[in-house]
Assembly symmetry: C2
Homo-oligomer: 110 residues x 2
DNA sequence: CATATATTCAACTTATAGGTTGAATATATG
DNA sequence: CATATATTCAACCTATAAGTTGAATATATG
């Protein structure tokens, strides 16, 4: 799986997006991250594994505690991938002709 | 499932991202979209259903042919969601203090 | 040392993604 | 009308996500 596959997969779940949002306030432990959710600690632990696999969080062990912090690179990759399509949501209907006559895309994605 | 859930889920698969890329060149039929892939037409038909469910493509039936075209709104939603984290990939290490002293996020995601 | 805390591991369930093959449906065309 | 084409539907398989519960592991603490 590519970086984008893993990042999109990880971000497809609202719990994981909330965890990402939470980590903008700084490092947190597994228990801290689990606290707002009505699910088991184990479930959150699994979510963290998917975020880790995608490179969205990094883990730092201190004794028995695991501190997670945000790693923004995959978020940037996602944002940049989506930005390619910016002209499609910016274009007016009267700009359609210009779009249709533009040269075809090459090597998009992968 | 929310718009973002559906969009991230749809974009997590490389086949579907290639289909999205292909549709920047304009409308295409199911058979046209399937042509580059080493999988059955049925498999591509299923991928299109997920893209449709996410609002990423729209279908227009003309006789027996189904023409698909790109609907960029969910891509914009994804780009805007990821853009919230822009300061995290822009920030230098020496700006860490500023980040830590900034007010906490409110109502992020959903 | 005994116990509490933080976290993961293992096993299990259910739902869904991603693919297949074969049949059905709808529309063109000779 | 008979046949070819475009697409979906249905049934099936396998892998994995998303959750659970219970046990194991590692580290603190009285």
């Amino acid at each position: 799986m590519t970086t984008l596959d893993l990042a999109f997969t990880a971000l497809a779940d609202p719990t994981r997006r909330r965890i990402v949002a939470r980590l903008t306030r700084g490092e947190a432990r597994v228990t801290d991250l689990a606290q707002p959710f009505a699910m088991s600690l184990n479930a959150v632990s699994k979510h963290l594994k998917l975020l880790e696999r995608a490179g969205l969080v990094q883990r730092r062990r201190v004794g028995r505690e695991h501190f997670l912090r945000l790693r923004p690179a995959p978020l940037r990759a996602v944002q940049q991938w989506a930005s390619r399509y910016e002209r499609f949501w910016n274009q007016r209907l009267d700009a359609l002709g210009k779009f249709l006559s533009s040269p075809p895309e090459k090597g998009v994605d992968q």
